[in-house]
């Protein structure tokens, strides 16, 4: 695997040459500051740019072009790290050696650049028909998220506990935030987006990378030189006491979410101790402390999930549990965390957790997407590449794990009470 950086004034191209895959991947990433007030419009713009451009005004035009490029995929996603949001535009395509089309490489590399840099705007407004479809689909997505008890309860728990944390602010709550957006808003936000965002392009595959970069250079038009002053870590101070929240839900099953802070911020040199801690507590399959206490020993739930975000300084523990068992479940969660903080775990658990993390890291080696993510995080956060982690994971000590454990403090227990839904119809 051969990595090379092509630095340009207004963007960087990172190439990773490998013959490991038959497909290739190009990812165009724009990074900028996360702002609560921009969440809806940033979502709308990302989707709009994925659906339409001047050359491919209709979704159908784009899909037919992609099918013709041997079923290439073009799609987008948004990722947030601390107070930074990044918009990712990906094209996955077959290695040209499997295609007999002329100019295939050039066409496939040009396509995402065309979509991003030649958007379907007229008279300083976004194309109204595509914008309508974009907004409509986004509204449906936001509404369908509310049908998901896990999503809904986790979001509410975070909002009530740490209302100013980006974890609580990053979601669209009111659909009017979307419906009020007009074509000129999208046009104006795009100008800001393109002029203020840092741009990185990652290309991976068995390709002549100088040729690829040449095609990119010829087809990219970004004018503004920017510097990286983005804040990737948020400080979340612990609460002095645990608060209990409870509300009635529309779901049958009661949901419990325990939310907490991680303070001070976990630095890169503590990263592997942090991962081992999380794995022993919640990531060792059914052998983790949380699964063992809540599911295996007490049959309280089907599963318990631990989610932690070191950049936001928050964590949550989620489970679907009968209301009468909530108190018992909370006590077991507290017991599991306390045991970690007091070092009540064995060398065997540490070794198992390390093996599990190393195996997980190896899984990343078979995915172009995850290898690019590893390079991207290495570039912005300074974390190790997938191939460099094993030795450092092996070196983690019990003392380091205990030290990390003590940075975790429970702040709240949120209960979304289940309800018997009256059935009708038929």
């Amino acid at each position: 695997m051969e990595y090379k950086l092509y630095h340009r004034d207004t963007y960087d191209v990172h190439t990773i040459k490998t013959d490991k895959f038959r497909s290739c991947r190009m990812e165009v990433i724009f990074r900028h500051e996360f702002k609560k007030e921009d969440v809806a419009i940033d979502n709308v713009l990302t989707d709009f740019l994925t659906l339409t451009s001047k050359i491919y005004p209709k979704r159908k035009d784009l899909v037919l072009k992609l099918e013709d490029l041997y079923g290439a995929f073009f799609y987008s996603s948004r990722e947030r790290i601390g107070e930074m949001i990044s918009n990712h535009f990906m094209i996955e395509f077959l290695n040209p050696e499997f295609c007999d089309a002329k100019n295939y490489l050039e066409e496939v590399i040009k396509l995402p650049l065309e979509m991003l840099l030649n958007p379907n705007f007229s008279n300083a407004e976004a194309d109204s028909e595509t914008l309508k479809v974009t907004k409509n689909q986004l509204i449906a997505e936001v509404k369908s998220e509310l049908e998901d008890a896990s999503y809904y309860s986790s979001r509410e728990a975070m909002k009530k506990t740490f209302p100013h944390n980006p974890s609580a602010l990053a979601k669209i709550e009111d659909i009017s935030e979307i419906s009020l957006i007009n074509g000129s808003d999208v046009y104006n936000y795009y100008q800001k987006f393109i002029n203020e965002s840092l741009c990185d392009i990652y290309v991976m595959g068995n390709l002549e990378m100088d040729e690829v970069v040449n095609i990119i250079d010829k087809n990219i038009t970004l004018d503004t030189i920017k510097s990286d002053n983005l804040n990737y870590f948020v400080t979340t101070k612990p609460k002095t006491k645990i608060t209990n929240f409870s509300e009635n839900g529309n779901f049958l099953q009661t949901r419990l979410v325990v939310v907490g802070s991680i303070y001070p911020t976990i630095s890169n040199d503590m990263l592997y101790a942090y991962q081992v801690f999380l794995t022993i507590l919640g990531g060792l399959g059914l052998s983790s402390k949380l699964q063992l206490y809540l599911r295996e020993k007490n049959s309280l739930c089907y599963g318990v999930s631990l989610r932690s975000n070191r950049c936001d300084g928050v964590f949550n523990i989620y489970a679907g549990i009968e209301e009468k068992n909530i108190r018992k479940a909370i006590n077991l969660i507290k017991k599991a965390l306390k045991e970690m903080q007091e070092g009540v775990f064995t060398e065997e658990e540490i070794t198992n957790a390390k093996n599990m993390i190393i195996a997980g890291s190896k899984m990343n080696e078979d995915s172009e997407e995850r290898i690019i993510t590893s390079y991207y995080l290495h570039d912005i956060l300074g974390t190790d590449l997938v191939f460099e982690r094993e030795k450092k994971i092996r070196k983690v000590t019990k003392e380091e794990i205990v030290r990390v454990s003590n940075l975790f403090k429970i702040a709240s227990c949120y209960v979304l009470k289940g309800k018997k839904v009256k059935k009708s119809g038929e």
Binding site: V63, E67, G71, L94, L284, A359, D366
Partner: protein
């Protein structure tokens, strides 16, 4: 072992039958860092009635038994679970149950031999006690309740109940809480002894490993294992081509935007000139052109805000073909009319068929980057067609507009079920 060459690629599957009669399928990818092994049992949630040996009487077990057994299987001895053992290998195993089969899977990069031995050991041996049954009953009941809280899952089964009269696909894979409460240790032992036998299972391993070493490990690990020999006959369910309910409206508080499914049920014999895999390819191409991302019809519906989401699926089995259109729409009655009308006017062009064929073939090559996808493809092909498809290229290449038009004409729309899920006020 036989080498099965995959047409128009440089790929080879290894196929063999182990000493105890277990069919094995291997695909080696030396560029991969990992391996993925699945041990599959042709026993799913619909297999609740069966005959053992020459007994005339069919035995039956409650709905959800296959899934319950999947949970129980991870226990290996008193206080010892397969999870505990896999964890020491750095592996997190998993399993799932579908209507048709149960799959146990392991994904890892090291300790190939230990992982394979353990997978065979825990799946092929049963350890069950009344205490374990009670423990799992509580866990599974919570899992069932989670499913009842999922609007999409609920809607899926409600649609099946409108389509199928006798077919067990109308029941939830995990069963209901009441079903789960009825499942006993005796039921678990009965289904394990009946279905967890080498000839009713298959092993698929994909990734970076030596296939000959893998076969040797299978033979060594299983050499002392004994399995019952009596014949098992699954009860065949005769399903009528008529739907159960023409129209059905369900209301639920958790639904935010109404959902509409329309299912068309027709006899398989309408398409008797075509093999299952051909028929499926043609029907999917026709539906892609009329309802997919390249369809003008879908684009118009989206622009007029008549749908937020539209997809389709095709199920082909020995007796029936079921085409299902799935949509999310604020205007259920309008969308029903539009979809019904479009189904009466289905079309396909030669150019589009060629483009879709090209993209499908690219997908098939692409899959060889992904050890999980190839493993999944092998599982699906064995279950659907009884064997792996080594001549996919020929299937795609053969697709032509004349046959597409013939299939299009044969589609019978008279038996349809409309199911609407709306928000309860």
């Amino acid at each position: 072992m036989k080498e099965l060459k995959i047409e128009k690629t440089n790929e080879v599957y290894y196929y063999g039958v182990s000493d105890i009669g277990l069919p094995v399928y291997f695909w080696v990818n030396e560029r991969a860092s990992n391996f993925y092994m699945t041990l599959n049992v042709k026993f799913g949630s619909i297999d609740t009635e069966f005959r053992v040996g020459n007994n005339k009487k069919f035995l039956s077990v409650p709905n959800g038994t296959a899934h319950f057994l999947e949970h129980i299987k991870f226990n290996m001895a008193k206080g010892v679970s397969a999870f505990d053992k896999f964890v020491t290998l750095g592996t997190n195993p998993n399993a799932f149950t579908t209507f048709d089969y149960t799959c146990y899977m392991v994904y890892s990069s090291t300790k190939f031999q230990d992982n394979l031995k353990l997978l065979l050991d825990f799946v092929l041996n049963l350890y069950v006690t009344d205490d374990l049954i009670n423990k799992e009953r509580g866990i599974i009941s919570e899992e069932v309740k989670m499913g009842e809280d999922n609007a999409n899952s609920k809607f899926f089964y409600e649609t099946n109940r409108a389509i199928y009269k006798n077919d067990k696909r109308k029941y939830e894979i995990a069963g209901s809480v009441a079903d789960v409460s009825k499942i006993s240790k005796k039921d678990i032992e009965l289904v394990f002894n009946s279905f967890y036998r080498p000839e009713n299972m298959f092993l698929v391993i994909t990734g970076n490993f030596n296939p000959y070493e893998a076969m040797a490990i299978v033979n060594e690990t299983t050499k002392d294992m004994k399995f019952p020999q009596d014949k098992i006959t699954k009860k065949k369910v005769k399903e009528d081509e008529r739907v159960v309910l023409k129209e059905k409206v369900i209301k639920d508080k958790m639904v935010e935007i109404p959902k509409v499914n329309i299912a068309y049920k027709m006899k398989r014999t309408l398409f008797k000139d075509y093999k299952d895999e051909e028929l499926k390819a043609y029907l999917l191409a026709i539906l892609a052109y009329n309802f997919g991302a390249i369809s003008d019809f879908k684009e118009t519906l989206l622009k007029n805000e008549l749908v937020n989401y539209l997809s389709y699926s095709v199920d082909v089995n020995a007796d029936l073909v079921v085409i299902t259109l799935r949509s999310v729409s604020k205007y259920p009655q309008e969308i029903i009319k539009k979809l019904q009308k479009k189904m009466e006017e289905l079309e396909i062009t030669d150019n589009i068929l060629k483009t879709l064929v090209k993209a499908s073939w690219a997908d098939a090559i692409w899959a060889f980057d992904d050890i999980e996808m190839i493993n999944d493809n092998i599982q699906s092909e064995i279950l659907a067609y009884g064997d792996v498809l080594t001549r996919k290229y020929s299937i795609y290449k053969k697709l032509n507009i004349t046959d597409a038009a013939k299939i299009l004409k044969s589609i019978d729309l008279k038996n349809s079920a409309i199911v609407v899920l709306e928000k309860e006020a």
